[in-house]
Symmetry: C2
Subunit: 297 residues, 2 copies
């Protein structure tokens, strides 16, 4: 049988973190949601959808799910507001879009997608939001994003982690790679603080070889330049796993933790993390969706 086109693949994560009681409590539900996201991605990929549409669609589902720290259910800033960031990148031409500090766009990843479709690469604050709205992105009052669970986290000054930042990487049937990442940031963060998720090369990256989406101590992922470093190491001949481990080792050296998902144009994938848990999953052509939470991959 002649192989036509590439073998599509999608991998997702819902944030690296500690093995908390809350995670154990919600683990079955989280596995179900991740399975649904992979199933939806699989259908789109089997229909021939392009990589950018697939990663956006997957992140939209995760943004809408309240237990993940992105879109509705985002972590709250010290002033009680939800300020969100997201990014999308396409590997074939390295078109990229990111937004930071959005407070009204229902799905921040779609605002990032609108930026990807423009000349700009990063837009911030109310102007990012005006632009997203002008491109058809649904808007909500900031209250829409704020859940009682996250208000509890803020008032107790703790993260009751069941899941965090979300992200997706994908290879479509044409062989194009894409990556998308979306986050509400850190509970109690100063308003105006931006982490690695919207930053191309820090928390998100796609080129002709790899697509990467990160989660963890955002400031340290920026200082390590995690996503771009992985791409550079793979370009130099490293395996995905070795490149990812080296980049995460820099975060560890800085005293931080986190994880990432990375897939290659050849269908390889690595899902490493240095925390106790990282809800994540993979579907690749010819197989069934697989989901993990605390187990090593």
């Amino acid at each position: 049988m002649t192989k036509v086109g590439h073998s599509p693949l999608i991998a997702i994560h819902a944030g690296a973190g500690a093995l908390t009681v809350k995670l154990t409590e919600h683990e079955a539900e989280i596995r179900t949601v991740l399975g649904e996201v992979l199933g939806s991605g699989r259908r789109l990929l089997e229909q021939g959808a392009d990589a950018v549409d697939v990663v956006k669609a997957a992140v939209v589902i995760m943004e809408d799910y309240e237990l993940f720290n992105a879109g509705r259910g985002s972590a709250l800033c010290s002033d009680g507001s939800a300020q969100m960031s997201a990014s999308v990148m396409r590997g074939s031409d390295r078109a990229a879009g990111g937004v930071a500090g959005v407070m009204h766009t229902k799905n921040p990843v779609l605002a990032a997608g609108a930026v990807l479709d423009s000349y700009q690469v990063l837009m911030i604050g109310e102007h990012a939001e005006e632009f997203a709205r002008s491109q058809g992105a649904e808007q909500r009052p900031n209250d829409y994003f704020i859940t009682a669970r996250q208000q509890g986290n803020l008032s107790r000054h703790v993260e009751q982690y069941p899941a965090g930042t979300v992200g997706t990487v994908c290879v479509d049937a044409s062989g194009t790679l894409a990556a998308a990442t979306s986050t509400g940031g850190i509970t109690g963060q100063p308003p105006g603080r931006v982490g690695d998720s919207p930053l191309i090369g820090a928390g998100n990256w796609a080129d002709g070889r790899v697509a990467v989406s990160c989660t963890g101590d955002g400031e340290l992922f920026i200082r390590a330049g995690v996503a771009r470093t992985i791409a550079a190491l793979v370009e130099q001949g490293s395996s995905l796993r070795d490149a990812a481990d080296r980049a995460l080792a820099e975060v560890t050296e800085f005293g931080g933790t986190g994880g990432l998902i990375v897939c290659g144009a050849d269908g390889s994938v690595a899902l490493p993390f240095t925390t106790e848990a990282m809800p994540r999953g993979v579907w690749s052509a010819g197989g069934e969706p697989q989901v993990w939470v605390t187990e090593a991959t």
Copy 2:
């Protein structure tokens, strides 16, 4: 004679651009200003100042100089406002700070320096500015930054380039590297647009081997991940010049132009650009400051 400590070095740029009549008109003045910035950096380095203080001080002078597109004299957004971005990074521990979308902080590089001294790495908009003010950074009405020259550029929808984004890289006597970059962005840019200058790994980077400051088509520098790519290539054994040329070649592939300055812990330096001009200069221990505008280095 035993060599004590490292040989300090400072390199600066005032943006890559076209050889315009305005540049020719102001060339002598620009050379004088660059010479003064290098002289000031030299004095600080000879007094044993640390690398971060040196790059901040050099950028402050260039931000205050009206002909450079940073601080006072910044390019104006489509709505007539000045929105500025800056970043600073220290190589020894990779502490980093960036601000984007600031409109009142007299010297955006000092706001970035305040972020470097905090846990955060990137702060945006009014909250970045409140933070900078709380750390003692002088504030000005937005009008302070707006010059008749830049209003003319905006109304004519052209950049009358005599000089652009500014940046500095440095090795201090202890061998620590640092980089700082500051910009007003692009004439007529949408408010809320952010380029590569405040983004660690895109327009600015410092680690134990190299310090990099970029200028040019910001969106394309982000998509190429220029600064972090150079660091990764040097780590793999490339010379500064080869690494810089490869990273700039990616920007060229995307249809863009620009330049950068990079110095190594060993005292090497490269100042490549793909435009007609890039005002720039270098001083290293034991020598005299040298300044170039259109000449190759």
